[in-house]
């Protein structure tokens, strides 16, 4: 058609196809179930040796055994105690240190070089040292978990405080709100989302360090159990232990999501 010639009316072609996020809830379930089924089938058909990778049904049977003979309860209790005390100690001290650095330039000048120097050390590498210092008991394992939790918590806390818009603090000052009340009513709630999102990271770090610490010289705990079952070639019990750890991680994540929803309704 030559330029400038009259054209008949026609609809404008739709050109914005694709690049749009859609939800496919069924796909996730189907793929997950298919993988489990394929795994079960492969073991039953003898394609995979039961010794190296037991079928999902055998893992579930082992798990039932663990629950029934009380092994799970004892080991889980020991693990949860270490996880909770270690995580709580690291979180409390980390938030306190983070507030000190976030609010005081002196604490910042003193603290940040130390934190930057120690943060990159893989904390599990320090466990042998802690065992020398604190003995082979609970304290050294709890300390490793606490130390691993401390750094991300502290860094996230002062980062969250640094990111508070200066304007809302000036606003509170302009209305003569006393400093402690500014801390409680402005700084703390403004930093809370940042601190809560650190909980997600520290929960994962704590679980990882817990299992690793339990594999070094512990008599009880899920980590110690998994290691022992490996040495006995009891792979079904080993995987049952791994399954427990995964479910624990999942439950912690769900709990944290619930907590965020409860505390941050305003978002």
């Amino acid at each position: 058609m030559p330029d400038g010639a009259m054209q008949a009316a026609r609809p404008v072609r739709f050109r914005a196809r694709g690049f749009v996020a859609r939800r496919h809830p069924a796909a996730s379930v189907v793929v997950f179930l298919a993988l489990i089924a394929a795994w079960e089938a492969a073991v039953r058909l003898g394609l995979i040796s039961e010794l190296f990778l037991p079928a999902p049904s055998s893992v579930l049977a082992a798990l039932r055994e663990l629950i029934e003979d009380g092994t799970l309860r004892d080991n889980l209790a020991a693990s949860l105690f270490r996880l909770l005390t270690g995580w709580a100690a690291g979180t409390i001290v980390g938030i306190a240190a983070g507030f000190a650095i976030g609010l005081s330039s002196l604490a910042r000048a003193a603290g940040i070089p130390v934190i930057s120097a120690i943060y990159p050390i893989p904390k599990i590498a320090l466990l042998p040292l802690f065992i020398l210092w604190l003995g082979i008991g609970e304290t050294s394992r709890v300390t490793v978990v606490a130390l691993g939790v401390f750094f991300p918590t502290c860094i996230a806390t002062f980062g969250a405080i640094d990111n508070i818009p200066r304007g809302i603090i000036r606003m509170a000052q302009s209305f003569d709100v006393p400093p402690l009340a500014i801390l409680r009513k402005v700084v703390l709630p403004a930093a809370l989302p940042g601190i809560l999102s650190a909980f997600r990271i520290t929960a994962a770090v704590a679980l990882l360090l817990l299992v690793a610490a339990e594999m070094i010289g512990a008599q009880s705990g899920i980590g110690a159990y998994v290691l022992a079952q490996g040495q006995l070639m009891q792979t079904d019990h080993l995987l049952a232990g791994v399954l427990v750890i995964s479910v624990l991680g999942l439950l912690i994540g769900t709990g944290l999501s619930w907590l965020e929803k409860r505390l941050l309704t305003w978002r």
């Binding site: 818009p165 304007g167 000036r170 606003m171 302009s174 209305f175 003569d176 009513k185 709630p189 305003w266």
Partner: protein, 257 residues
């Protein structure tokens, strides 16, 4: 109350933001402050409100406080500075919480401030649920709740769209006709200054000085009448003449701050 600043100068590093400013706001007067961007208008307001220590000069307030006044000076900010985790009501409550008073009085003050600016039905809304205009209304109600002697407004309408701005100017007009609160209104918008101020201080570009002071010689209540509008239009031309050259040069200056 009246507010007097004498010989105020502000230096940031090697940049002189304010040269040598004298301001005087009489009791019940609204002083408009206009000037090109970066002329130090907001810096001056922060100094006058005690949020910034000036390099030189003094600021004094004097006179009788209005009844039930909790704070001599209250601010309204350009970007509202609301606490997003508090409802409109909770935000207005904040400046009252550290003053001891019966809870009933606190509630009454909050309700009255919200009602004055038409926010009663939005009392339970969080800032994210409110439009920009409504958010600034919360900021205004928060300042009014302390019944201040001097109101400092730092470009309060600059973050809003043109229509919302008109509506909020009507609100300000109503509040000033009612309470006669002493106020300083910083803006870069000539129309806002002419609608709302009794006198307008025109600032030069950085380092900021007062270039001239223009009296808006039209009664507040008459500013919407044809005669009032005509006079405001003349003043607008005069102000623009004074400020155009300053703005032009300021706009071409390289940012060295």
């Amino acid at each position: 109350m009246e507010l007097v600043g004498r010989g105020i100068g502000q230096v940031f590093g090697d940049v002189t933001a304010l040269a040598e400013i004298d301001v005087h706001v009489a009791d019940g007067e609204v002083l408009g402050v206009i000037g090109p961007s970066g002329c130090g208008k907001s810096t001056l307001l922060a100094i006058l409100g005690g949020l910034l220590k000036p390099s030189r000069g003094t600021v004094e307030v004097s006179g009788r406080k209005p009844p039930d006044c909790l704070a001599e000076i209250a601010y309204v900010f350009q970007d509202f500075n609301l606490l997003p985790w508090r409802t409109a009501e909770g935000n207005v409550r904040l400046p009252l919480e550290h003053h001891s008073m019966p809870e009933a009085e606190r509630r009454e003050r909050v309700a009255e401030a919200l009602a004055l600016i038409g926010l009663t039905e939005f009392a339970a809304a969080f800032p994210r649920q409110l439009s920009g205009g409504m958010r600034q209304r919360v900021g205004i109600a928060r300042a009014l709740a302390v019944r201040p002697a001097v109101l400092l407004l730092d470009e309060p309408l600059s973050a809003l769209d043109a229509q919302t701005r008109e509506l909020l100017m009507e609100d300000f007009q109503r509040i000033w006709l009612r309470d006669r609160t002493t106020a300083i209104y910083v803006t870069h918008n000539l129309t806002e200054a002419l609608q709302l101020a009794d006198r307008i201080a025109v600032f030069t570009r950085r380092p900021g000085r007062v270039r001239e002071i223009v009296a808006v010689d039209v009664n507040r209540a008459d500013r919407a009448t044809p005669a009032g509008r005509a006079r405001l239009a003349e003043l607008h031309d005069h102000l623009w003449g004074a400020i155009r050259q300053e703005a032009l040069v300021a706009d071409r200056e390289l940012e060295h701050a």
